[in-house]
């Protein structure tokens, strides 16, 4: 049985359904990331797990125990908030120890626990200070300390890194990952940043408008997105999504991507799709990530699935480690990622190597991935 189980969770707010039938499972020690654009319900979902918000239908179980009726303090969880939510008029030590005080833990034990956690997070020298005297990163650590000292069953994180500047964010992200590895705790983490989701999670749940779009490992979500939304949301730069048409059938089936004022791009059907299930003339959407379109010299020599086609270069963006080359097809911009020293000039016509092993197809009507 999974450690954290959410079944059939629905939340209605007045007449609006904010969470639409969520089913999630997380094994003990797992790191589940809830990711999605603003307003998708990820924070709401987290709050229902914490017990800070009520819900209309469904069940939440932690370690087999149904926690629906339990107050937040009784669910044995801890939470780290976006704005840290440190008590401004208490010292760092008091902040960390407040929960224990409320639970009636005797002072000597409290002190010991505070020292232990402070040492772990390297904030021992800050114990006597007030939150207003700390930097953003230090406050973040204190917030984590407050959660850690509780030794809960589940850790909940609500966009804890959003308020930090870019560099600090990367550092703290590593800290959190190290913490997870060291303590082996079960974590549910909310973020709108898909890079954080990919790097931190063992399991990712993508949400849109209160409904789960896909639940899977980072690799699954990245390489085999369940629908157009997930395909577009995950990965930066975003996946190229090109309207195409199936021509021929079965053994001779191919994908045609129309081009304004020129011959279309013709590609084989990607191996991720059973070609037999496709009908001739069927409209599809080809999803292929920029890193799967390169210059022929940079393409994977061993892969049998490389198709090379010539295209007209519109824009070249040297980005240091790579060069992004933009061409146009099916009335959309297609971004390709080429080697940094590839010689490309805007306005020239060069060969593009499409790695179809990494491509996927979607049905334009439903948005679902075709298998």
């Amino acid at each position: 049985m999974a450690f954290l189980e959410i079944s059939g969770l629905r939340k209605r707010y007045h007449n609006l359904e904010v969470l639409k039938g969520i089913d999630l499972e997380l094994e003990k020690g797992g790191f589940l990331v809830l990711v999605g654009p603003s307003g998708c319900g990820k924070s709401t979902l987290l709050n229902t797990i914490a017990g800070l918000e009520a819900f209309s239908e469904g069940e939440i179980r932690i370690d087999g125990e149904v926690v629906n009726q339990l107050r937040p303090s009784k669910r044995d969880i801890a939470m780290v908030f976006q704005s840290y939510a440190l008590y401004p008029n208490m010292t760092v030590a008091q902040n960390i120890g407040f929960g224990m005080e409320m639970r009636g833990v005797p002072k000597p034990q409290r002190e010991a626990a505070i020292q232990r956690v402070a040492g772990m997070l390297q904030i021992s020298h800050l114990l006597g200070r007030r939150p207003s005297q700390l930097s953003g990163g230090q406050r973040q650590r204190v917030a984590m300390g407050r959660a850690l000292v509780r030794d809960p069953r589940v850790f909940l994180f609500d966009e804890p890194l959003s308020n930090l500047d870019a560099k600090l964010r990367v550092d703290m992200r590593t800290e959190i990952k190290k913490l997870h590895a060291a303590t082996g705790k079960t974590i549910v983490y909310v973020t709108h940043d898909q890079v954080e989701a990919m790097t931190l999670g063992t399991k990712i749940a993508v949400l849109k408008e209160g409904a789960l779009q896909q639940v899977g490992t980072p690799a699954e979500v990245y390489n085999r997105p369940a629908n157009l939304f997930v395909a577009d949301f995950m990965g930066s730069p975003a996946m190229n999504l090109l309207p195409a048409q199936v021509t021929g059938s079965n053994g001779t089936a191919a994908l045609t991507v129309a081009r304004d004022g020129g011959a279309p791009i013709v590609l084989r059907i990607p191996p991720s799709v059973a070609a037999a299930r496709l009908a001739p003339g069927q409209p599809v959407i080809l999803g292929i990530r920029p890193e799967a379109i390169t210059d022929p010299a940079g393409a994977d020599r061993n892969s049998p699935w490389i198709d090379v086609q010539e295209a007209h270069v519109e824009i070249v963006e040297p980005a240091g480690s790579d060069t992004y080359v933009v061409t146009r097809a099916a009335d959309k911009e297609v971004i390709a990622r080429m080697r940094a020293d590839a010689e490309v000039r805007p306005g020239s016509r060069i060969p593009f190597a499409f790695d179809l092993a990494k491509a996927v197809l979607f049905d334009p009507g439903s948005g679902q991935r075709l298998a």
């Binding site: 709050n47 914490a50 800070l52 107050r71 937040p72 303090s73 009784k74 969880i77 801890a78 939470m79 908030f81 976006q82 704005s83 840290y84 939510a85 440190l86 008590y87 401004p88 008029n89 208490m90 407040f98 929960g99 409320m102 639970r103 407050r146």
Partner: protein, 307 residues
């Protein structure tokens, strides 16, 4: 006076000297009259009053300096001690009750009450009416014989006795009652605004930490309201010291001098008893007390803005 047409670049260097001066000068010229008025009518008059307190003025001002005689006289007058005793009682009770009740009402109203708007209006309306009206209303309300006492008698509580209004020992407390009734709404509004400014995430963290409602208010919310407390106390103390209208309407300073306050003292000694220098001296004392409270407060407020 100031130029409104676009100046061609060629013209600027030549005219810059005069234009710049004018542009610099105009704002200051505009502000000057107001500033001058304040300098004269506030600071100039204060100096004038201080000067008068050092003269032997009686009914008319006399401009011969005789030193601190008026102050000596002031500190020998039993009326002045009565005034001081009363302002201490009134001031402390006024501040304590207004902030206490105001905080209580604010906390209650913050619990997502349905009729919040209406209730707020009810608690605050006394601030809109004159102290004279307040005093008149409460004078009637507490009228021994026809007011509260009579009503409670009619309802069966015949042993109720309420003559505070004419009781020399208790009269000052009627002033406290009327004053608190008037100003509690104001404190409530300030605390409510403070409560609403508290980050919701902190309250959620407290929930997760298992703090009960009382513990949350006591350990987290109320300490966070410290700046509001400070502002409220300062404003209330200031209002208490300036209190004049309320006392005049409610008790007239009486019975006898039972509700004499420094403000009524100053007025009666200056205009009625024709002891202008003593009156001036009492005004200076009032000013010094208020300055001691307000100046540090203003200084810290203005300095903070600089950052």
């Amino acid at each position: 006076m100031s130029s409104t047409t676009a100046i061609s670049p060629a013209a600027i260097p030549r005219q810059r000297g005069a234009r710049v001066q004018l542009a610099d000068l105009l704002p200051r010229l505009v502000l000057a009259p107001s500033f001058a008025i304040v300098l004269v009518f506030v600071y100039g008059f204060i100096l004038w009053t201080i000067y008068l307190s050092l003269t032997p003025s009686r009914m008319m001002p006399v401009y011969r300096l005789t030193g601190f005689d008026a102050y000596h006289r002031l500190w020998l007058l039993p009326n002045w001690y009565m005034a001081l005793r009363n302002i201490a009682i009134f001031g402390c009770l006024y501040v304590v009750f207004c902030t206490g009740l105001g905080l209580l009402l604010a906390i209650l109203l913050d619990q997502r009450i349905r009729a919040e708007g209406a209730l707020r209006t009810i608690y605050l309306y006394p601030m809109a009416i004159s102290f004279i009206v307040t005093g008149t209303a409460w004078k009637w309300f507490l009228n021994p014989g026809l007011g509260l006492e009579k009503t409670l008698h009619a309802w069966g509580w015949t042993s109720f006795h309420f003559d505070w209004l004419i009781n020399t020992h208790m009269a000052i407390y009627t002033v406290v009652m009327a004053g608190v009734w008037q100003a509690t709404g104001f404190c409530m509004a300030m605390f409510l605004a403070g409560l609403r400014g508290i980050d919701g995430e902190i309250l959620r963290a407290a929930q997760i930490d298992g703090a009960s409602a009382i513990a949350t208010y006591r350990r987290i919310v109320i300490p966070m309201l410290r700046p509001v407390f400070l502002s409220a106390v300062i404003v209330l103390a200031h209002m208490a010291i300036k209190s004049y209208d309320l006392v005049i309407a409610l008790t007239g300073g009486g019975p006898g001098n039972a509700t004499e306050l420094p403000s009524t003292f100053m007025y009666s000694y200056t205009f009625t008893r024709n002891e202008m220098s003593v009156g001036a001296a009492s005004a200076v004392m009032m000013l010094m007390t208020i300055a001691a409270i307000i100046v540090p407060y203003l200084y810290s407020e203005l300095r903070e803005r600089a950052r």
